[in-house]
Each structure stands twice: as C-alpha cells, then as structure tokens.
C-alpha cells in the first residue's frame, strides 16, 4: 500500500520509488552495498564516465563550507571500459541505472553516450554538461543554450536509451538552458549540478582546493536548487529529477512541490550513508500527513 504511493514512471525509468543517489556521490554503489540493499533504491545515478580513464585533480579535492562542501574531484573515473565492468557488477540489483556521461568535446560526449547506452542495465543517460568545452575556450557546455541544444540533438541521435540533460546552475537564465535541451530532444532534465565556489587558506594564502575553484553542494544550495526547479517546471514539459541539498524526506517533498518528478541525494550520502533508504522509508507517512495519496499528486503542487 505505502509502496504503491511512490511508484513513478519517467522516460526509460520505471521507478519503484522516486529517490536515487546523485552522480559522483555514490561511486558505483559498492561502498553503500555494505550498508544496505541497493535494491531498495528507486534508481542509481553512477559516477561520471569519460572515454579514457581520468586521474582527476590533485589533492586537496575537498573543502568544507557553511552547511555545504566544495569538491574538485575532476571526473576521476576508470573510463568507458572500466565503467562497463562496474555496471556488470551492478546487474545483480533490480535497479535501473542512470549512466552519467561527461566529455571535453562534443565528439567525446557523443561517442561515450552511444557506447554506454548499449549497456544492458543502463536505463537512461544523464549528460553532465558542467564540463569545460575545450574547443570553446573553457566555457561550460551547460552555460550556452546553443551549445547545449546541439549537444542534446547529437546525443539523442545515437543513444539507445532516453537522455536526461543535467543543468548547471551557474547561468543567468536556467529556463533558457532548459528550453534549449528540450528543443534538442531531451527526454528529461536533472538539476542542479554544483555552484562554482572557492575557499582560501589563510595560512598559505592559496585556494584550499588544488584546483582553485570547486563545486558547492549540500544544504547551503538547497534554496537555489528549489528556485531553479520551480522555474524550469514552468518553462518545459519534460520531467525533472531534482537535487541540491536534499537530506530528509521533507526536503524531497519540497522538490516535488517545486516540480521535480523524482529526486536525487548527493552530499547527504557522505554525512549519513543511510540517507536514501531513510528518505524512501519516510516519504509515505509524510505524503499522508500533507494529504497526498500518491507522490505524483505532490509534483508541481506549488504551482496551483
């Protein structure tokens, strides 16, 4: 009964519940499998994959901030072949996998998307467009609507699975980005990625992160994420998977109200490894408390 309240269907994703770990905050699941049955999850957004293996940035890669954290992992990953092995390991769990695709050129994105979309348990792609476009002087793919439109179109043309574009919040107008990827044929949107931030070390007079800047995540960014999901919900028709500072079922409900059809949990997995199953467990009661018989009825509720 309670379980039925949470089932959600999105393009390519038959979710038994609308809660999943966010990309880069869950590795490929192995570490969390020591804490709980991954089969409880609605889906899993695995770590970003690039064509070749990547070392990522130098240490330090992490810094804490008020109610948040900065990371500059730099897309460390074992490359397409390595990630395929991880995906094979994940086949033991009856959970749809969302593969997170990154790249430094349009061509790299397209090649990786095509190949990874052929993996059996990959149910959908999430395209992380918060990467610098090396051919365009470093501006992110996710900061220029035309670039994002073109990228979406090319990826859609080759992908065997539905494509979700992951929006960067570091833009003047998030709705322009959302409309661009919708026009490009995206099946859905995931949002938000991290805000660009920086901490300086008073002792050394340098950035705490070896990379200089890093991505700000955690509760601190939740109000920005909720605002952007709210705006994008009004601007497009494709579904949104919302994230940014979610740590409780209440936070998740706030994102549903704003317009997210499902939610992802990032940083909170580090603070509380049981965060996802606890949110899944808490949602039915919470929904009932606020008068909803199904999570779908809460989606976009703030837009009445």
């Amino acid at each position: 009964m309670n379980k039925d309240m949470l089932a959600v269907n999105l393009p390519g994703l038959n979710l038994k519940n609308p809660v999943m770990p966010a990309s880069g905050c869950f590795g490929f699941g192995r570490e969390f499998a020591e804490y709980y049955d991954l089969g409880l999850l609605g889906a899993i957004m695995v770590k970003a994959v690039t064509e070749a293996p990547r070392r990522g940035n130098n240490m330090p890669r992490l810094a804490e901030t008020p109610a948040g954290m900065l990371n500059a992992i730099g897309l460390q990953n074992p490359g397409l072949e390595g990630v395929r092995r991880e995906l094979a390991w994940l086949e033991q769990y009856p959970v749809p996998i969302i593969a997170n695709v990154a790249g430094y050129t349009e061509e790299e994105y397209v090649r990786v998307a095509e190949k990874i979309s052929q993996s059996q348990n990959v149910a959908a792609l999430e395209i992380n467009i918060s990467c610098p476009n090396v051919k365009e002087g470093g501006i992110l793919f996710g900061q220029d609507p035309e670039v994002a439109y073109a990228l979406t179109k090319k990826i859609k043309a080759v992908s065997k699975k539905p494509v979700y574009m992951k929006l960067s919040p570091n833009v003047t107008d998030i709705t322009a980005m959302a409309k661009a990827v919708e026009a490009g044929g995206a099946d859905g949107i995931t949002m938000i990625n991290t805000l660009v931030g920086m901490r300086l070390d008073l002792q050394t007079g340098r950035a705490v992160l070896a990379n200089g800047t890093g991505g700000l995540s955690g509760p601190a960014i939740k109000p920005v994420a909720v605002r952007m999901v709210y705006e994008v919900y009004k601007a497009v028709k494709i579904p949104i998977i919302g994230m940014g500072g979610i740590s409780t079922a209440e936070d998740a409900l706030e994102f549903f109200y704003a317009g997210a059809s499902a939610v992802a949990v990032g940083t909170e997995n580090f603070v509380n490894p049981y965060a996802c199953p606890q949110i899944i467990e808490g949602l039915p009661e919470l929904l009932k408390e606020y008068g909803f018989s199904h999570v779908k009825d809460a989606v976009g509720y703030a837009h009445r």
Partner: protein, 251 residues
C-alpha cells in the same frame, strides 16, 4: 551508530581523550589503524564527519578510546561534549595495520595527532610477543601526550621541535639518535614526516605508514581523499589509511 560518551577529558595542550561505549562494534574484526568517522554537531554545520583514529579498543569493557587535538570548529565542538551525551559514529572504517608480524623488534613512530593509532597496534604486537620501541614527536613539552601509555609497551623516546623534552628535532632525528636496530617500522603522522621515513627506510626495512587526507565520505565513495601509489591512485579512507612502506608516490 550512536556511541555514549563515557569520559572526555583534556590530557595535554588542546588534546583530549574520549572514551566511548561501543556495544555494537565487532571487536573480533577490529584492526588497529582504522578510524571512526564522527558527526560532531546536531545540525547541518559542521556538515561533514570528522575522522579520528582508534587509540584503544577494549573488548572486555566494549569501549573504544580516541585521542584528538582541537584544531578547528569540529574538534572544538567535540571538546565541549559531556559524558552521558551520545555521538553519531560510523566505523571502524578503513584498512588498518596488519598485526600478524614475524618481527623480533618493531619501531612505532608517531608525530602529533598521528600518535594515537599506534597504541592499539602496539598493544596487539606486544601480546604477540614482539619487542617494541616507540618514538613520538611533538611541538613542545605542553603538547606531549600518551608517553605513559607507550611506556607500558617498551622503551619510548620523545622528540620535540623546540627541544623542551627529549631529543630536539623531528621523529626522524630521534630515530637516528636511537639507532636503527628494528625489523619493521609502523608510523603515523604528517605527510612530510611519513615521506622522510619512507625515503629513508623503504629499501632497508619492512613497514607500514598511516596517512591523513581531507575526507568527505570516509567510506571510499567520493574519491576526495586519493593518494598516488605505485599501483595508481588509491583512496586513503578505504584502501588506506595504512599503506606499505614504499607504496605511496609523493608529489
């Protein structure tokens, strides 16, 4: 899991010893050199857990003791906690020191907050009949702690940067002074100290070094705490914090 604070007392300048009731911990599999990842506040700030090594594991009492230095907000808030309160703890985490040691005589070398994990290790080695010498490095006299604990295990040499107690200089200086008559080296401390030990002994001795790195998850999922090794990047929190002498590659 929740652990009840049994005691939390100052033992040196800005250094505290905290004993925790650890009913749910499996002491059988607990390895020295592993750590607890502790949620310090009640709220969203400080957000991340703080990794603190296990200093002493008492299987009979079912208690774990940790020793921590107040460096920033997290450890400061820890120092305010009172007995009877509960801590939200994950762990023991990580890959610790091996204790099946065939050595006749080992050297434990600890610097500053690197001292604590060596004690549980020393206890185990001692139980296995190994002879132990300990060298501990601190900034100054007021910062010295745990000397007495290690004296229970064998000979102890102290080094202080200002020479106010023991040898003047670093742990490495004290080891040179003492002579290098040991089979295996176990060390924990700042990266610079571990590096000079590594460079000095990797061709001569067996040994294990325990590293520190800033952490977010502490369980190997975020890839925030890597160190370069001869076999590629490894996670300090999960593949470490203990690595073999000669394994880590320095930048």
């Amino acid at each position: 899991m929740k652990m009840k604070i049994l005691t939390n007392e100052s033992i040196a300048k800005k250094v505290f010893r905290m004993k925790l009731s650890a009913e749910e911990v499996d002491f059988k599999t607990l390895s020295p050199g592993t750590f607890l990842n502790i949620r310090v506040g009640k709220g969203m700030e400080p957000l991340l857990r703080r990794p603190i090594s296990i200093f002493d594991a008492d299987e009979k009492e079912k208690t774990l003791t940790i020793i921590y230095k107040v460096l920033g907000r997290g450890t400061e808030l820890m120092s305010f906690l009172k007995e009877g309160e509960h801590l939200d703890v994950l762990g023991p985490l990580g890959t610790g020191f091996p204790v099946q040691d065939e050595s006749r005589k080992v050297l434990l070398a600890g610097g500053g907050v690197g001292v604590p994990p060596l004690y549980e290790l020393g206890k185990r080695l001692r139980e296995n009949g190994v002879e132990i010498v300990t060298v501990l490095g601190f900034r100054d006299e007021a910062s010295v702690f745990c000397q007495k604990d290690f004296l229970k295990l064998g000979k102890v040499l102290i080094a202080t940067e200002d020479g106010s107690v023991g040898v003047e200089g670093y742990v490495t200086d004290a080891i040179r002074e003492m002579g290098e008559d040991f089979d295996t080296l176990y060390a924990c401390g700042p990266r610079a100290m571990l590096r000079s030990l590594d460079e000095a002994y990797q061709d001569k001795k067996k040994g294990y070094l325990s590293f520190e790195e800033r952490m977010a998850c502490g369980i190997g999922a975020c890839y925030g705490c890597m160190t370069e090794t001869k076999d590629g990047l490894k996670r300090v929190c999960k593949d470490g914090p203990v690595f073999r002498l000669g394994e880590v590659v320095y930048e």
